[in-house]
């Protein structure tokens, strides 16, 4: 174990950095995607409802590993097929897209549920004062919805962080992938995977501790 840490320490740290980078990028995009599709689903426009539902159902209906393969191999092959022969996605790009789409679908559901948990009267009161739908949503409903959303969002963050390991299949040099490499060099299964597991655990436990604190602070405001 000490040997592995001594030899592969910097590699492991760098891999952890890649994992966090991928997580962070995906979360940012997922928030945007989730906001867009979540809002589509709470409105009363049938076309937008339909688009929102199709997106969420489609992405949730596909395992992340299949989505990753589809975007890393399938999409470039398709685009090359229509003439753009130099088109490629690197593992970070494809990984970020796949993970953002996946996490975005769950985020959309969290945001939809959060908004719908706010009493309808809040929107009506906003509208009755002359505020537009958008202004009532943004100033009145969403600030209240966020409170109920926060635990689920944090939970989704943690799931996404762990899901980055799935992207080892497309060769992205994140923690799990580097684990495989170390395993291949050392044949020390137990030690290698114990170290990788602990690294994930430390990050995730730290994150959930921090988020608990944030949650408590937000709830204290009210």
């Amino acid at each position: 174990m000490v040997m592995i840490i001594q030899t592969y320490g910097t590699m492991l740290i760098r891999a952890l950095g890649q994992t966090l980078l991928l997580t962070l990028l995906s979360l940012v995009f997922a928030m945007v995607i989730g906001m867009i599709f979540g809002l589509m689903n709470v409105g009363h426009n049938r076309v937008l409802n339909c688009i929102g539902t199709v997106y969420v159902d489609a992405v949730r209906g596909v395992p992340l590993i299949v989505l990753a393969y589809f975007i890393y191999f399938g999409v470039p092959a398709g685009i090359q097929g229509i003439g753009f022969t130099n088109f490629r996605l690197n593992a970070l790009q494809a990984g970020t897209i796949a993970l953002s789409m996946n996490c975005g679908a769950y985020m959309a559901e969290i945001i939809r549920a959060g908004i719908q948990s706010v009493d309808r009267g809040q929107m009506e009161a906003g509208r009755s004062l002359g505020l537009s739908y958008g202004a009532s949503m943004w100033l009145v409903v969403i600030p209240q919805a966020i409170r109920t959303m926060i635990p689920s969002i944090i939970n989704q963050f943690i799931i996404t962080l762990k899901d980055t390991s799935i992207l080892s299949v497309i060769g992205f040099p994140e923690l799990t992938n580097v684990g495989k490499t170390i395993m291949g060099n050392t044949f020390k299964n137990l030690q290698t995977w114990a170290i990788i597991g602990i690294m994930y655990m430390v990050v995730i436990i730290t994150l959930s501790k921090v988020s608990k604190k944030i949650e408590r602070r937000i709830n204290r405001g009210r």
């Binding site: 009161a125 009755s128 002359g130 209240q144």
Partner: protein
């Protein structure tokens, strides 16, 4: 028609196959206090909510201060600035202080500057006896206090018309009086008001006109004395015998 603050012509409203309002016509002139009475399900709240288009009319016309709000080209948000609404469940913005509840809309819509909005809000809060609650959150107020804040919030927009949707129905009995007192004062000052309520005493004392609705129709209307003390329609008599 220009004299009328509100003109409703042949208004119908259906929810799916359920027709809640069947051909309602109604005029309200400036300074009138119209009380809508009727059993639950008679359509009085729906009628009220159609006036500011929280419910869209299925057919018919509603003209508010000369503007047809059933017309898609009317800027309904602009019209709503002039029609305050007070809800049964107060609907105060729970994440904002009393003061912010009141100043949110006028500041966002730029009808008042931040300083003006605050000054006006403080005056209104004083008027409803809650100046000391400006920095409180809704969850820290009693029901009666919440409803008084809700009225003040509606007044902050300087409306010409106020709609009340069962404003005292969700209140503990001992808090009804404080809310009715504020409403009476508004009526005295000449505010045009339409009130859905079960408070017969309020109707008798304050209303300039009482309308009894049932089954989506206006069954009877007239002065409080006519409708409450000397009702002619059997359905009105039946209803009043149950609530009085």
């Amino acid at each position: 028609m220009a004299d009328n603050k509100i003109s409703v012509r042949n208004l119908k409203k259906s929810f799916g196959s359920l027709e809640v309002l069947k051909d309602i016509s109604l005029d309200v002139s400036e300074g009138e206090v119209v009380v809508l009475l009727g059993p639950s399900g008679s359509g009085k709240s729906t009628l009220l909510r159609c006036l500011n288009q929280l419910e869209t009319a299925t057919s018919g016309h509603i003209i508010i201060e000369g503007q047809d709000v059933t017309d898609k080209h009317t800027d309904i948000n602009k019209v709503r600035e002039n029609i305050g609404m007070v809800f049964q469940h107060f609907n105060l913005f729970n994440h904002l202080t009393v003061l912010k509840n009141m100043t949110l809309a006028p500041v966002h819509l730029k009808t008042l500057s931040k300083a003006e909005a605050k000054e006006k809000a403080m005056k209104l809060l004083e008027r409803v006896g809650l100046a000391d609650k400006a920095e409180a959150y809704p969850s820290q107020l009693s029901g009666g206090q919440k409803q008084r804040v809700a009225i003040a919030r509606a007044l902050e927009m300087n409306p010409n018309i106020l709609l009340f949707d069962e404003p005292t129905s969700a209140l503990d009995p001992e808090m009804v009086g404080e809310v009715l007192a504020v409403m009476k004062e508004l009526a005295r000052e000449g505010m045009t008001m339409i009130v859905v309520t079960h408070e017969i005493g309020f109707a008798r004392e304050v209303a300039s006109r009482v309308i009894f609705m049932e089954g989506g129709y206006i069954v009877e209307e007239g002065t409080p004395d006519e409708v409450i003390n000397h009702p002619r329609e059997p359905r009105t008599i039946d209803f009043l015998s149950k609530v009085l």
